[in-house]
């Protein structure tokens, strides 16, 4: 139930971002990097507090942030785009995503 509610809100929020940001690629990039960083932060925070089994995980982690970010759009945009743009977009997405998770985990692990 928490996954369903969180996931619906996450997908709705991503749709909202796509209406505000005119470029589909930029919109996907922003939600993915933000969502990855936030998931790292939330998971680190919960583990630190010993609350890894709390409802926050399915609601906010699996549901909202899982659905807020998307892999399918990224993959199709990379396939559709011109080669050099896709190369830059793909490398930037992965590098920024990894960096965001590391920042989120570091921030979340601070006591």
């Amino acid at each position: 139930m928490a996954v369903l509610v969180g996931g619906g809100l996450g997908a709705g929020a991503r749709f909202g971002v796509s209406l505000i940001i005119p470029s589909a690629i930029l919109g996907t990039f922003i939600v993915n990097v933000l969502g990855a960083g936030a998931l790292g932060y939330v998971l680190a925070r919960l583990r630190l507090a010993g609350r890894s089994r709390s409802v926050t995980v399915p609601l906010l982690g699996v549901g909202f942030l899982g659905a807020f970010t998307t892999f399918s759009s990224l993959a199709v945009q990379l396939v559709e785009g011109p080669f050099l743009l896709s190369l830059a977009y793909g490398v930037a997405s992965l590098a920024a995503g990894i960096l965001a998770v590391m920042m989120g985990l570091t921030l979340g692990r601070r006591t």
Partner: protein
Amino acid sequence: MTWVAVVIAGGVGALARYGVIGFVQARTRDPRPWGTFVVNVTGAAVLGLVVGIAPGGWWVVPITVGFLGGYSTFSTWMVETIYLAEGGGAAAVRSGLLNLVGTLGAGLIAAAAGYLIGTWL
């Protein structure tokens, strides 16, 4: 109205992801995140297929942006990659890199295959 449909479809997609990941992880002893791999690659294939067919109708955005967006996930993939790579030397870093490159590669092939099949249909 589209918004409501996206929220509902996105929730169902997230729930399907939760179910598929649980199903896959329960059937492998391999601790690597195969569940996330499966949802992301299948989600990319189906989105490629839909984009290739290029159908019209009110349901396209709820299915693509809502269901498939909610079903596939970037954040979990990134976090699991870091978890794999963390604190275990060169082998762990290799494992994380493999998850990163393997998922992306398989996802791109799946999206391209789905797209090509969709344009033929």
